[in-house]
């Protein structure tokens, strides 16, 4: 398995991650090395019907659906990078749509 520079770029876009142009060759080389290594499990016979193993309780337990105030060490204004007049400040979502259309 050899991962190309363009594939790394595509994956980085899917992962919403900026990757420097100069680090691309090294990243491609390291990803190829890792994917080559992990691909060895492909050669092991495993029953398609085998039930995937997941540790933990057999079924998710649910709490009563009640709204309970939970004391926090500090209030919402400190929970995010920007907060004003009772709202979290983030860039406008409309810009996201416009940027997405061009890709």
């Amino acid at each position: 398995m050899s991962v190309t520079r363009d594939e790394v770029l595509k994956i980085a876009q899917l992962a919403e991650l900026d990757v420097d142009e100069e680090t691309l060759p090294l990243l491609a080389e390291q990803m190829s090395r890792i994917l080559d290594y992990v691909a060895q499990i492909g050669g092991v016979a495993a029953s398609e019907s085998a039930r995937p193993f997941v540790p933990g309780p057999d079924a998710a337990r649910f709490r009563p659906d009640e709204v309970k105030p939970w004391p926090l060490a500090f209030g919402p204004p400190k929970l995010a990078p920007a907060f004003k007049d009772g709202f979290f400040l983030v860039p406008k979502l409309g810009q996201f749509e416009e940027a997405g259309e061009g890709e």
Binding site: I11, M31, R33, L35, Y37, A39, A60, P91, F96, A99
Partner: protein, 462 residues
């Protein structure tokens, strides 16, 4: 009831020792802030608590309200959690003193604590070597004698591996034994909070306090806290399996010698020792390095600059904000794992990698069930293939670094409890032996560890 002044004295002594160990770069909390908090905690601690006055440092991926929680990452620089982990709440309720936040590999991704945005942690016995990881700060502080115990976290061996390299005890409980509420998620089907201690008893009593049900974590089992066993006179009645796959021909000779000596000792203590086979062991690391990055790529999607930590300030739209913040905020190892995780989950590769890894995980878990079903109580193995390695030695080759976890990832994949304890030294560097137990039978594992620790020459050269 103990003397209410005891905790104050303990707090001051702990702060002094932690400050003295500053050269290790194991503690992220500034000294002044640490002293102030320890003093406040000591005054508030209840003398009837079972851990009254005991200093316990906490890995920086476990939320505390007293200190920042950065996960060793620039993307969470200065982040203060509005709530604390259940494990931390339980420690405080038992009278323990939360003794600052320990340095770790970024988001617990690493085996050497060289991948922290706040600099690498030094091995307490040799500054040119690594303390292991990702809970390297916790292991180094316990190893240096600064604190008797510390919390760490395990996804693939991040408590046991550094415990082994630093010559301390590390316990990873069964998946579901300890609440993960407030543990920053990395690989959710693998993550568990664990404990590092200077002795089996120190680690076990902290584990006992933090274990047990928690309504805030749906993966935490509805069970009472762990009851500590007594120190046994012998291991009569125990059947201990030695999995042959954990003793490959290229195993470090000193590690092999130390393990062989430990196995002789197990027999002398009265245990029945038999060779067993876990045939899918060699596929555990590749399986882990598909599942863990896949889960990490999903869990770390939340760090986008909108909700946590510093925000990339050159944004013109949301996508630029996300990509810029994540690109600048994550270090190289986290970026690599996010990319690998995204790759193995992407269309066209999902079946070949992720689905196949899930099947392998089932086979690895079945290997353990087969052995335990045949009357084996515990397994004994080396914890790591080598003693502490030199800083920088494995940074260039990620796979070489991943192989440091070759003997530890299996217990995480199978959700089993496991414990590392010192079994000797080579040229002054500690060697660890590992016990792997059956799900929720930590008491048996700890009982055997008590017996080994009581008679074992842990500092003897192998």
């Amino acid at each position: 009831m103990r003397d209410p002044g005891e905790a104050l004295a303990s707090a001051k002594a702990a702060a002094d020792r932690i400050v003295k160990a500053k050269r290790l770069n194991a503690m992220l909390t500034p000294a002044k802030e640490l002293r102030k908090s320890l003093d406040q905690q000591a005054k508030a601690a209840h003398p009837s608590g079972v851990l009254y006055g005991m200093p316990v440092a906490v890995k920086d991926n476990i939320c505390t309200v007293e200190f920042t929680t950065t996960c060793g990452s620039k993307i969470l620089e200065g982040y203060r959690s509005p709530y604390e982990a259940t494990a931390v709440t339980k420690l405080k309720a038992a009278g323990a003193l939360v003794s600052g936040k320990t340095n770790c590999d970024e988001f617990a991704m690493g085996s050497s604590t060289e991948h922290s945005a706040y600099g690498r942690v030094l091995h307490p016995l040799d500054k040119h070597r690594v303390p292991g990881g990702s809970s390297g700060g916790s292991a180094a502080l316990v190893g240096a004698g600064a604190v008797p115990a510390a919390l760490g976290s395990e996804t693939g061996g991040s408590v046991r591996q550094p415990a082994s390299l630093c010559g301390v005890v590390g316990i990873k409980p069964t998946y579901g034994r300890v609440s993960r509420y407030g543990l920053v998620a990395f690989g959710s089907s693998l993550d568990q909070i664990g404990v590092l201690g200077r002795s089996v008893h120190d680690a076990a009593r902290v584990l006992s306090v933090i274990s047990g049900r928690d309504a805030r974590d749906a993966t935490c089992e509805d069970r009472d806290p762990l009851r500590l066993p007594t120190v046994p006179e012998s291991l009569q009645g125990f059947v201990i399996g030695i999995p042959k796959e954990y003793f490959p021909s290229d195993l470090d000779p000193a590690v092999r010698r130390a393990c062989e000596r430990a196995i002789r000792l197990l027999r002398e203590l009265g245990a029945a020792v038999r060779e067993v086979s876990l045939p899918h062991t060699s596929y555990a690391v590749p399986t882990y390095y598909i599942i863990a990055p896949a889960e990490a790529s999903s869990n770390l999607a939340r760090y986008d600059g909108a909700r946590y930590g510093p925000r990339f300030d050159g944004q013109v739209d949301v996508r630029t904000l996300y990509r810029g913040t994540r690109g600048a905020g994550f270090g190289p190892e986290v970026r690599r794992r996010i990319l690998v995780g995204t790759y193995v989950l992407s269309s066209g590769y999902y079946d070949a990698y992720y689905r196949k890894a899930q099947q392998m995980r089932a086979l690895i878990a079945q290997d353990f069930r087969n052995v335990f079903d045949r009357g084996v109580d515990l397994l004994f193995t080396p914890t790591t293939p080598t003693p502490a390695f030199k800083a920088g030695e494995r940074l260039a080759d990620p796979v070489a670094m991943y192989l440091s976890d070759i003997f530890t990832v299996t217990a995480n994949l199978a959700g089993l409890p496991a414990l590392s304890l010192p079994i000797g030294r080579i040229k002054g560097l500690p060697i660890g032996g590992q016990l792997i137990g059956q799900a929720f039978l930590e008491d048996e594992m700890i009982e055997a560890a008590y017996a080994i620790e009581r008679v074992f020459p842990a500092v003897e050269e192998a």
